[in-house]
């Protein structure tokens, strides 16, 4: 059956009065009656915002609905209106909430492994140090400039204008968006880089 013959999940819920439908729809819950009906409660996404993203894992491009409340991801599920995945997800797509908040003892807490601050490792050091963005951006820019200044080649041995440096390389990124990758391309060519690669060969 083609997808346009099916009513979307959202349409179904809308028709039943939205998030409170769970308590009032004719379902198994009603038949239980009494205390079980009270326990059924409200949908956890009742007060959440719903945004659509595309899965960050494989190349199928499944649509995912991300529900958030107070800047916390509370729930994800496949987008039933995306004709490619029709609401289904694999184990990885279903887990993208874990990038920010994981379930721990029934509650959503921040994933502590997630990098949330700029880290710097000095020469010979055994540890990371936390730094701030302003500092990092300036230090990185200085290193890029120093390396470029020390190795930039305006013309090659044959006198051809080359405007390049072989001393810096850029890896990335199949994980990132088109607009980001386009800016990366301008960035690396602006600096004069030749050594550029990313996940396509891996």
């Amino acid at each position: 059956m083609s997808i346009n013959k099916l009513i979307s999940r959202r349409g179904f819920l809308k028709g039943l009065g939205g998030a409170t439908a769970f308590g009032t729809t004719v379902s198994g819950m009603e038949l239980l009656g009494g205390p079980s009906k009270a326990l059924a409660g409200e949908l956890k996404i009742k007060y959440g915002t719903e945004k659509m993203t595309i899965c960050p894992y494989c190349g199928v491009g499944c649509g995912i609905l991300v529900y958030a409340e107070d800047n916390k991801v509370i729930y994800v599920e496949g987008d039933p209106d995306n004709p490619i995945n029709e609401g289904a997800l694999c184990s990885k797509g279903a887990s993208i909430g874990d990038f920010t908040h994981i379930m721990e003892k029934g509650k959503r807490v921040e994933n502590k492994l997630r990098l949330k601050k700029v880290l710097y490792r000095a020469p010979k050091s055994t540890e990371w140090e936390e730094k701030d963005w302003q500092w990092a951006l300036k230090e990185i820019a200085r290193r890029i400039k120093d390396t470029r200044d020390a190795t930039f080649e305006q013309k090659n041995a044959q006198g051809v204008t080359v405007n390049r440096t072989f001393a810096m390389a850029n890896f990335g990124s199949a994980a990132l968006e088109n607009e980001e990758n386009y800016l990366f391309h301008k960035f690396v060519r602006g600096l004069g880089l030749v050594s550029i690669d990313h996940h396509a060969r891996l």
Partner: protein, 790 residues
């Protein structure tokens, strides 16, 4: 992909080779199963092991890793011998009838033109050309009987690939092979669609390009290109590897698959235009794409007077600057600084230990990611003494998928928009913000301090409204990628309007149309109408090029415009009019006979190439053994691909044929629950719970021979290194009987490294630095190792 995911439902037979969709593209199975249920489609899986996908297969052919060309050449021979190829399609839509020069020769594993240059073998392709008439046009024989026509040369080339020899070399049993050949070639008739699905099992070889080419040739012979349910379908591994490839984050290209300008070939703009523009086919428009790109890059600083800023653009040299070369150049001290965006080369690239050794030589590294990676933390790797490592590392916290917005392109070329659900957590920033900031900081330094020729930076067109407080405007960037008329700023809806005079700007010509109207861009469309139930969904997102969902779709109808398949016609022509369900990949305003004379608009000839002078390593695919292989080549005197890329250094010693120290064939693979180098999955508790640990699959027979118990820790070694992993003993993995001998196989997921919630050994520790001549892709799918009990 030439087709797309939903189109799988229109296939009659699937040939899934070097791919494991049930594992790595799970939602592909929805469409494969739809075809099985609704059309009785048959599924053939060709894989060294019994993969998750095999569980849905009607036929499973187990082959030795690296023998795909033998397998497919045998099927091509079968089709030619039995006449089960699509005759009208082959005559009209391929170069089968073209005559090749008399001095083109193939002899015992070598094509004419093989020579030595700088200590390496390379091909001079001068003889790989057509015979031309007085007007310079290829001479054809449409009876396909002339001994120099491509059809006859192909027939002669595949003569050695008889079923017996193919089964000996691949290890596939004869009965299965004949069933597969018969079933797949049954799609060589009008009205039946055969779908070839492939992935890294096909590409990651020293003959990877030829592997892909032979799949395309098979589809051309059977008439499966450009039809619903057909095509050559690369299942790409990352959410936007298609987009990042389109945006050319690779050394040898620039956005839209234009060649990178090179010092020895293109000193000036005129040289580039002259050398890069072919005499025929749609690429004759290359100057328009290239000049429009320069205009997008350098804006007002790109004028006819300064050749549109051509000199600002860095020129590549004649050397390889792909991943494996970058690592070697870093090890040898040429590369001092490195930026790594959402990638983890220590785990993901071949030869892990060598990669770590190389990174130790860097002055500085910037790694941008969601979690601490093995690459950013290479100085903490096992066996590394941080006090001996001087590298400065900046590890920058990045925003994840739903903490920002932008577009991504799936394998089917559908460009879909992502919306932001939450603000980046902690101090995370989107990569868009990060690159904008870094560029601006560098530019400010050059403005205030001067330095090495700063113009390529100062003259770059880069003004997207970004600041420390504010992200750059993604819509402005998208409009630039899309292309616009310079005078009015209006977005263009087709690359057909691009000019080479500086009046148009376009960051990536193939994306023209995806974001022409920033307030209502085509890629954000969400309409679900699908007339004809073809699954094209023309009003859902936007596919490049020009929203064509099935490429080469002129081939879906005969030379007169009559569809091969009346049940699912993409187009039909009658009464002087085309009725179409997909965007035509041809000129639908001219007679069908005319558009039918060049349905493959991107080639010079306009037809599909069964014989091609494009690859560096041969015009016809030929079986060679992998660079590391225990088996002597049955087809010629050359053991492995003569012009393969081999990076010669002390950390990549290769296993000689027959070396008893490394007698076991090894291959890498993936699992559903983990992803690439594991950064995005081994840090998530739910996925770690599902797939907690690194392991290696070995057969029951191999386990018995080495007295290895299921679940026991074992050592796997190669000349590149050694790893300790848990042995999974399983009948999914079987010994291979090759040319009279038994050979064993070890298959390992490559997702693990020493950081994260779940840590483990990296399979890439074992992989050598060898690769394909054209793509430099590493041969991760076929190399040699040994195993032992600990």
């Amino acid at each position: 992909m030439t087709n797309h995911w939903i189109d799988y439902k229109n296939s009659d037979v699937f040939l899934i080779i070097g791919a494991n969709p049930a594992e790595n593209h799970p939602l592909a199975m929805k469409w494969i199963h739809r075809a099985k249920e609704q059309r009785g489609a048959k599924v053939i899986v060709v894989d060294p092991r019994y993969s998750r996908t095999c569980a849905s297969a009607d036929m499973v052919a187990h082959i030795r890793p690296g023998t795909d060309i033998a397998f497919i050449n045998g099927i091509i021979k079968y089709a030619l011998d039995h006449g089960s190829y699509h005759h009208d399609y082959v005559i009209n839509y391929t170069n089968a009838s073209y005559l090749v020069r008399e001095d083109f020769i193939f002899n015992d594993g070598e094509f004419s033109g093989l020579q030595e240059k700088d200590g390496k073998e390379v091909y001079d392709k001068g003889t790989w050309k057509y015979q031309l008439d007085e007007e310079g046009k290829p001479i054809k024989d449409i009876t396909l009987t002339n001994s120099r026509c491509v059809f006859q040369l192909l027939k002669k080339h595949v003569e050695r690939y008889d079923i017996e020899t193919v089964c000996q070399v691949t290890g596939c049993d004869r009965q299965t092979y004949e069933t597969v050949a018969r079933t797949y070639t049954s799609t060589g008739i009008a009205g039946r669609a055969g779908n070839v699905i492939y992935a890294m099992g096909i590409t990651q070889h020293s003959v990877g390009t030829q592997n892909v080419r032979i799949l395309a040739m098979l589809q051309l012979i059977l008439g499966n290109m450009g039809i619903a349910g057909g095509g050559v379908n690369a299942q790409r591994g990352e959410c936007n590897v298609q987009g990042s490839t389109d945006m050319a984050m690779l050394y040898h290209i620039i956005p839209g698959y234009l060649a990178v300008p090179k010092d020895f070939a293109h000193p000036n703009l005129a040289d580039y235009i002259q050398k890069e523009t072919p005499p025929g086919g749609y690429w004759v428009n290359k100057p328009k794409f290239f000049v429009s790109l320069l205009k997008a890059f350098y804006g007002e600083n790109a004028t006819p007077q300064n050749n549109f800023g051509y000199d600002y653009f860095p020129k590549c040299d004649a050397n390889d600057h792909s991943h494996q070369s970058i690592i070697k150049d870093t090890h040898e001290g040429t590369i001092n600084g490195m930026m790594i965006w959402g990638q983890n080369p220590v785990v993901g690239g071949p030869n892990t230990s060598y990669t770590v050794e190389a990174l130790k030589k860097l002055d500085w590294m910037v790694a941008i990611d969601l979690f601490e990676t093995e690459t950013g933390a290479f100085w903490k790797a096992p066996d590394v003494n941080p006090e001996e490592v001087d590298t400065e590392v900046f590890m920058l916290p990045a925003a994840s998928v739903y903490e920002k917005e932008g577009s991504v392109t799936n394998s089917g070329r559908w460009i879909q928009w992502r919306y932001k659900a939450i603000e980046p957590i902690g101090e995370c920033k989107s990569d868009l913000w990060i690159v904008d900031r870094i560029f601006n900081e560098v530019r400010d330094l050059y403005k205030s301090q001067g330095g090495a020729y700063p113009d390529p930076i100062l003259k770059m067109n880069w003004d997207y409204g970004g600041s420390f407080e504010k992200k750059p405007d993604v819509k402005k960037i998208a409009l630039e990628v899309n292309g616009y008329d310079v005078a009015s700023g209006q977005g263009i809806t087709s690359f057909g309007v691009l000019k080479d005079d500086g009046s148009t700007a376009c960051g990536n010509w193939i994306y023209a149309g995806y974001f022409a109207d920033p307030e209502n861009p085509a890629c954000k469309k969400r309409e679900l109408d699908d007339p004809g139930d073809l699954g094209v969904f023309l009003n859902y997102s936007y596919a490049w090029p020009l929203n064509r969902r099935i490429l080469y779709n002129r081939c879906s109808a005969d030379i007169n415009g009559k569809p091969w398949n009346n049940e699912k016609p993409i187009f039909s022509y009658s009464g002087g009019k085309w009725t179409n369900l997909d965007v035509p990949d041809f000129n639908a305003t001219i007679e069908p006979e005319v558009s039918g004379s060049s349905p493959f608009i991107m080639t010079v000839e306009g037809v599909g190439r069964l014989f091609s002078d494009s690859p560096l390593d041969g015009p016809f695919p030929e079986h060679y053994e992998p660079v590391e292989s225990p088996v002597k080549n049955a087809f010629s005197k050359r053991e492995f691909m003569p012009v393969a890329n081999i990076w010669k250094h002390d950390h990549s010693k290769l296993v000689e044929k027959g070396d008893p120290n490394y007698p076991i064939i090894a291959s890498t693979m993936r699992v559903t629950e983990h992803y690439q180098s594991g950064v995005m999955t081994r840090n998530l508790p739910s996925l770690v719970e599902l797939m907690p640990e690194m392991y290696a699959e070995i057969s029951r027979e191999l386990a018995a021979e080495y007295r290895i118990e299921p679940g026991e820790m074992i050592l796997i070694s190669s000349p590149r290194g050694q790893i300790k992993v848990r042995a999974m003993v399983t009948s999914r993995n079987k010994p291979l009987y090759i040319r009279g001998n038994v050979h064993h196989l070890v298959c390992m997921p490559w997702h693990w490294g020493f950081k994260g919630l779940s840590t483990g050994a990296s399979a890439n520790t074992l992989v050598p630095n060898v690769g394909d001549a054209n793509s430099s892709i590493p041969e991760s799918k076929a190399f040699m190792c040994n195993i032992r009990k600990i």
